[in-house]
Structures are given as C-alpha cells and as structure tokens.
C-alpha cells in the first residue's frame, strides 16, 4: 500500500497550486447572493454552490488534487477509497479521466442510487459493512493486500488543500466576509476552508455544522479531544461517521472558529427553502450549513454571510421528504 502525504501542514501556496492542478477538471463554481434569503435571514447571504461540479459535490476538488499529485509521484495501478458516496463518485470520475481503475468501499447506509452513480462513472463498488468506519477499515485492508494507492480522506494534506480551493474562490470574489458556514463530516473540507479564510480574510468567522445525530467532529472540536460517538441514522448521509479524525481535528482546533449542531427537521427544511427560494437543488448533507445559519440567525443579523452548499446528490425520496417539511420562510413573505 502506498499512502498519501501527511507529514506536512497545508500552505496557501499548496492551495494555489491545487487550484491550478484541478482547474482542467473542476470549473469554478458560482457564488451568488440570494435576495430572498438575505431578507429572510436578516443578513447579506451568499451561496457558494458546490453542487454543480462534474460529480455534483466539492469532493472532486480534494480527490483531483490528491490523485493528480499521486500520479506525478508514481505510476498508479489502482485506487482505493472508502466513502459515504460523494468522495467515491469523485474518485471514480477522476480515476476514469486519468485511466486508472478505482475501487470504492461504501457502507450499507449509502443509497443504491449513489452506488449506481459510482458504477456509471466507472468505479467498482464494494459494500464494506454496516457503518462508514467498517467500510474504511475494509478499504485499508484491500489497498494493503493488493498494493494499491489508498485515498485516505482525513489523513491527506492534499485533500485538505484541494478542499481549500472552494474558499480560495470565495475569498477572491467577495470582500469583507463576516461568516463562512459549511457542513462538516470528517473535517477535511472545513480544515481547508478555515485555513484559507484565516489567511485571506482573517476577520471572517468560519463555522462547521454537523447533524445532531452524528455529532462526533463538532463535539470533539468543543471538547478539545478526539472522541468516538456512534452515529444514529439521519438525513445527512454524507456527514455521518462515528470516529473523529485526528489529522483534521488538529487543523480545526487551530483555524476553525465555531461548530454547531442541527436537527434533521431543520436540514430538510433547508433543502426545501433552497429549492423554493433560491432555486437550487441540494442534498440534505449539502444544505446542513444553511440549516445552521437559520438556527443561529440572530447572531448573523446584519452580517455578510457565505454559506457553502457542498453537494447536490439528492435522491428523489430525499427531495420528497424535504418538500413535506415547512420551509424556513414562505416565499410570498
């Protein structure tokens, strides 16, 4: 097994280089002000829509940066990754673009639709157990036994730097940001985004939001220690894991300003609100930052707020469940 680089810290130069390397594969995503949501939230609200990358989530940024660096270092015979779905799709897509076989390990919690989508993009899907952490262990063993390249989200500075390009685009387009709010799963995106915002717009508070049914990173962030909290099933399948990630936690303790929890009902209402009032399709995980912004809207009053929508791989069932909730604001108001 070969392993990603973990013996260095992210740098702004590394993130600028990442932007250059991934650009042929990942076009810049839109950052748009929402008039309706600005009124409803009482702040100057901007949406960074990562659901419009070729694999419909921000994950392609980290996957592309990691794999393009790995390919520059050595010949890749095959790529192995464990995923809640979106990273698997991103790795499968990029692996096909650079003509390397990809093995994607997913847990039973990953929807059949997401698994099928990975297969359509050329990845071999392996069911690795009941929970994400089981799939993660299975992927490590498979990579070791077959001497293949393991993409370890949460242990790769290149994935963090790739994810940081989201914030590089935001910080270059929009000045005087007060808050940047995004969902957190394993924390590599939050680490990259908070690192960039601290470097380029240090006045901005960066906040990561996790579902209260899978709160391990948020609780570890506040406790200042790496916890293990078995997750309960919840609507945000992309953010659900039980183990904290020491490599990203160390970065979050240094660069992240705050971390919040939100309930399923607010996450689904955020998906509904985005459909109705911003005309943007997001998956529940992708809308979790907006749910956090809604629950803390008093704190955000009058501020310039960027909410990162991290993905759009929603199933039709998830969209129907979202439309059955009350949106945060009636559009007519």
């Amino acid at each position: 097994m070969t392993h990603a680089e973990t013996d260095r810290q992210p740098t702004l130069g590394g993130i600028e280089k990442a932007m250059e390397m991934i650009r042929p594969y990942v076009p810049e995503t839109p950052l748009l002000r929402s008039e309706i949501l600005s009124r409803a939230f009482g702040c100057d609200l901007w949406l960074k829509n990562e659901g419009v990358t070729p694999t419909f989530s921000f994950k392609l940024r980290g996957a592309a940066n990691e794999l393009l660096h790995a390919r520059a270092r050595r010949t890749l015979d095959g790529i192995v990754v464990s995923s809640t779905g979106n990273l698997g799709l991103a790795v499968a897509w990029l692996a096909r673009a650079i003509r390397v076989p990809a093995h994607i390990f997913v847990s039973d919690a990953v929807s059949a639709e997401k698994a099928r989508l990975i297969e359509i993009h050329g990845g071999a899907v392996h069911r690795g157990g009941a929970e994400y952490d089981d799939a993660h262990m299975a992927a490590i063993a498979f990579a070791r036994d077959n001497d293949l390249h393991l993409v370890d989200d949460g242990a790769s500075v290149e994935i963090v730097e790739g994810g940081g390009t989201t914030a590089l685009e935001v910080a270059r387009q929009l000045a005087d940001i007060d808050y940047c709010i995004l969902p957190i799963g394993g924390g590599s995106h939050s680490a990259g985004v908070s690192f960039v915002m601290k470097a380029l717009q240090p006045q901005a508070r960066v906040v990561a939001v996790q579902p209260d049914a899978a709160p391990v990173m948020v609780k570890s962030f506040h406790a200042r220690q790496a916890l293990m909290i078995p997750p309960r099933r919840n609507v945000a399948d992309g953010l659900t894991q039980g183990e904290s990630v020491p490599f990203t936690l160390a970065l979050l303790w240094r660069y992240l300003d705050d971390a919040w929890l939100v309930g399923d009902e607010d996450i689904l209402a955020a998906v509904h609100t985005l459909l109705e009032s911003a005309h943007v399709l997001t998956e529940p995980s992708g809308a979790t930052g907006l749910a956090g912004a809604w629950t803390r809207r008093r704190e955000l009053r009058g501020k310039r707020v960027v909410v990162i929508l991290t993905g759009a791989n929603a199933t039709i069932e998830q969209l129907k469940a979202a439309l059955a909730t009350q949106p945060f604001v009636p559009l007519a108001g």
Binding site: R39, L281, L323
Partner: protein, 243 residues
C-alpha cells in the same frame, strides 16, 4: 428585467398575466420592481405594458422584437460555441423564440455544421406552426410551462428563427414534468418546466443523436413547489435502470 433595472438604478414596471407563476412574481417584487398582473395571457400583458409605456413615455421592452435583448440571449450561444471544440446540435426551449434566435446566430457563426433545434410546448405551438408554415401563425396557449406560453409570435424573433433554426419540435406537459424529474434525479439540477423542454425534445430524437455531442439549454429554474412535487411523483422521462 427587475434585477437588471435595479443594477442600473432604474425603476421598472413588470407586467405579468393575471394567473402568473407566484415564484416569478415574488422574485420580481423582491428585486424591487413594480408588479402589474393584468390580462389572460402573456400577450395580453404585453399589450397592456406597451400602452402603459406609451402613456408614461417610458421605455417599453418588447421581448422578441428587441435586437439588444436577442443579442444578450445570444451570449449563451457564444459561451457554448467557445467552450466546445466539437458541437453537433444545440437544443433550445422556445416560447417567443428570442433565445433560439440569439443562440442560433452565435452558434452558427462559430460552428457552421451544428444544428439548432427548438422545442415548444404542445399546448402552445404558435412558433412551431409558424416555423412549419414559414410565416406568422397565431395559436392559443394552454400549457403548465409558463415560460413557454406564447400565443403571438414576435416579428423579429420569428424572422431570425425561420432563417437560422434547423428544426422545431413539440413536447407535452407530461413529458416536461417527467423531464423535470429526470433533471433532478440524473443531473441533480432544478429546472422549471420550460427548462426541461430541451431534454424532452432530445429524448424524442435520441436515436438520431447517438454518438453526437449535443448541448441542452436549461433555460430556467423558477418552478413552484406544487409543480415540482407533481414532477417528482411522475416516472422519469429517462429510466435510471437502463443506464
């Protein structure tokens, strides 16, 4: 128009038909324009806005008869034509034919052999019939796709469309609803019914497009949640299982 007027620091009066899409009406008001709901369809609203403009001495924007609006829409075709080295066909939703006219002008200038095909709602086929007859034909409008509901073909857009478009097709409201579902399910993009017209048209002609590079223009996403729910309850236009 409301958004652009605000950017330019100008007051805007926007005329919509009495039974307008409430999402679009809310967005227009949010952008600070004065909203007038008048007339039984978009063409009646257009007559009212023309009279209002003449009375006040305001600039009346006649979508479909305004070269600047058409060239603005054409920038979309320019982006497509510049982004792709190879382009066999562009499929465009058609209401008043302003978009397809602008897009065809740009695309055909840069990709001589690319075909430009328009898709109109079956319940509102005035431009389709006009294209077939190569002359002005008015038709009643009855479709859920408010973005495609046009009874009266505008003169300038009709001329350019007849000259540059390669073909015109029709899609039923059921196909448009199923197209909205497929865009959500398989492309993870929200579109309104008009925005799904290109997909519905392309799917009808999929045998012809096999192996080709085609671009579908998704013209808008201002859908009401009621119509979105109806779309999600339908079968997709493209079955996922077969992919």
């Amino acid at each position: 128009m409301a958004y652009a007027a605000r950017l330019a620091g100008l007051a805007a009066d926007i005329f919509l038909p009495a039974i307008a899409n409430p999402v679009k009406a809310a967005m227009i008001e949010a952008f600070g324009a004065r909203l007038h709901k008048i007339g039984h369809d978009v063409d009646a609203a257009k007559d009212a806005s023309r009279a209002f403009g003449a009375e006040r001495g305001s600039l009346f924007i006649d979508d479909g008869n305004d070269i600047d609006v058409m060239e603005g829409a054409g920038t979309l075709g320019l982006e497509i034509a510049r982004d792709l080295a190879r382009l066999d066909a562009v499929i465009v939703p058609v209401g008043g034919a302003n978009l397809i006219s602008g897009v065809a002008t740009a695309v055909k200038a840069l990709h001589k052999s690319a075909r430009v095909i328009g898709v109109q709602a079956k319940g509102a086929p005035s431009l389709y019939e006009s294209f077939r007859a190569r002359r002005y034909v008015e038709r009643p409008s009855d479709t859920l796709a408010d973005g495609l509901a046009q009874r009266v073909p505008p003169k300038l857009a009709l001329e350019v469309m007849i000259k540059l478009a390669d073909d015109m097709m029709l899609a039923t409201d059921d196909e448009l609803l199923s197209g909205v579902r497929t865009m959500a399910e398989s492309a993870h993009v929200l579109v309104e019914l008009a925005g799904a017209a290109a997909l519905a048209g392309a799917w009808q002609r999929r045998a012809e497009f096999r192996g080709k590079t085609i671009v579908l223009i998704l013209s808008g996403a201002n859908i009401t949640m009621d119509l979105l729910k109806r779309a999600l309850d339908r079968d997709p236009i493209i079955p996922l299982a077969g992919l």
